[in-house]
């Protein structure tokens, strides 16, 4: 297997570092950002941004899932999450959904409609997993379902809004390339 093929397939240290920073940013947004809006899921407008920017900059399948694993572990273990470590599944679901959608819309992540779809459906996937876990281990289904209309709509709309912001940011920073391996560079130059 050639080095360039390896670097295309696997994450480089630079990319891992960058995605880890994005995961940390998700944790910060989720844990410390408070707004006066009294709607469930409205903070999705913040925490979908690092996901989409991470996926957009690295352009590799699995970026969103990696951010999801790391941010989920951070939030689950030290972010005072109600469901504790199970929180990781919510963020993995969100990252994986965005990864799949980024394949569907490969090369178009700077389009605001695509950003909306990624943010919206990613945020909604997180809600579904959250409700599944909560319904299974904590409370009964009806308690959740009586509020799913508002919660679902806000996750979709605010997640979509965060996705739009991400696309705009991404369109301004997409020219920034992460460092690549020296061998890859040489190979490309030759």
């Amino acid at each position: 297997m050639s080095t360039s093929l390896t670097s295309r397939k696997y994450f480089l240290v630079y990319e891992i570092s960058f995605l880890s920073l994005m995961a940390a940013l998700v944790y910060v947004f989720k844990t410390y950002f408070r707004t006066p809006i009294q709607l469930p899921g409205h903070t999705a407008i913040f925490w979908v941004i690092p996901f989409i920017i991470g996926i957009g900059i690295t352009c590799k399948f699995g970026s969103g899932t990696y951010i999801g694993i790391l941010s989920g572990l951070l939030i689950g273990f030290i972010g005072m999450a109600d469901t504790g470590p199970l929180k990781v599944f919510e963020y993995v679901a969100m990252g994986f959904t965005m990864d799949v959608l980024s394949v569907v819309f490969r090369g178009y992540l700077t389009n605001i409609a695509v950003g909306f779809v990624l943010g919206s459906l990613g945020s909604f996937a997180k809600l579904i997993v959250n409700y599944s876990i909560t319904g299974a281990i904590v409370t009964n289904a009806n308690v959740i379902l009586v509020g799913i209309g508002v919660a679902g709509a806000t996750h979709l709309i605010f997640g979509g809004a965060g996705g739009v912001i991400s696309s705009i940011v991404l369109s301004r920073i997409q020219h920034i390339k992460l460092p690549t391996r020296i061998l890859d560079k040489k190979k490309t130059e030759s």
Binding site: Q38, D82, I148
Partner: protein, 257 residues
């Protein structure tokens, strides 16, 4: 499929999901409400001597919150008692909640009901209902208002956010975690812990509403909608006006099936 078509399909999926979640909510809210309940968990009469805290214009929280919507935390004069309902919602019920039946005698002012939630092992109480703003709920009874009279033998609460407090129940607290027959308030950042506990008069509106009534006898429900299961509910009862020897409050709590 072209890029444009993929975008349109995805946006349609988002729109369909929005409609679907509201449809699911509508179905969930229109289920039958059970009116039967098990034996009473609390059946006790409280008098003016049980109003041991005050006078004060605030309820304990991360910051001082008013006891009535629009109230003044610095100048309002209420006397307060806490009552352990010895009950939590039955999670097998369609609309999990605890029913509270009350009967006042000798009320000459406003009586405000608020709820606090206890979770075992949490290290303190961190949840209450929202008194003001979007999502506010509470239950207020007003009858024959007269100027507030001073009650003897009351004490000021030592703090508003980190404080041990006694309950008025003869049996004491249900969960004596600290060995001193008290509960402990452990509120942190202002803004948190106000969304999951509710007081409602309609089980089909689990997030509750603000109820103002002049009925000296009535029923309301307390519940939680968050993803943390509350092990017990504690009522805060705040009374102002003329509190005389004929004042009494009979409270019953039960858990609907």
């Amino acid at each position: 499929m072209e890029f444009k078509s993929r975008v349109i399909v995805s946006l349609v999926v988002v729109a369909v999901l929005i409609v679907a979640v509201f449809a699911i909510q509508f179905i969930a809210l229109n289920q039958e409400v059970s009116t039967t309940h098990g034996e009473y968990r609390l059946d006790e009469t409280f008098t003016s001597q049980d109003l041991i805290y005050g006078s004060q214009g605030w309820a304990p929280y991360a910051s001082k919150i008013p006891l009535i919507p629009g109230g003044n935390v610095d100048s309002d004069q209420f006397y307060i008692m806490f009552v352990d309902l010895n009950a939590t919602s039955n999670l097998n019920s369609t609309f999990p909640r605890v029913q509270v039946d009350y009967i006042f005698t000798g009320l000459h002012g406003i009586a405000a009901f608020h709820v606090y939630g206890y979770i075992q092992g949490n290290g303190g109480i961190q949840w209450t209902n929202r008194v003001e703003g979007a999502g506010a709920n509470g239950y207020y009874v007003t009858n024959d208002p007269k100027p507030t009279t001073a009650l003897n033998g009351t004490e000021a609460m030592e703090d508003y956010s980190q404080v041990y407090f006694k309950v008025a129940n003869t049996a004491g607290v249900s969960f004596d975690d600290y060995g001193n027959n008290t509960y402990f308030m452990r509120f942190g950042k202002a803004g948190g812990g106000l969304n999951s506990l509710h007081i409602t008069t309609n089980p089909q509106v689990p997030t509750g509403q603000v109820t103002n009534t002049s009925n000296l006898a009535g029923t309301f429900f307390v519940n939680f909608t968050g993803d943390r299961t509350q092990n017990d509910f504690i009522l805060l009862v705040a009374v102002n006006g003329a509190i005389e020897s004929d004042f009494s409050l009979h409270l019953k709590s039960s858990v609907p099936d």
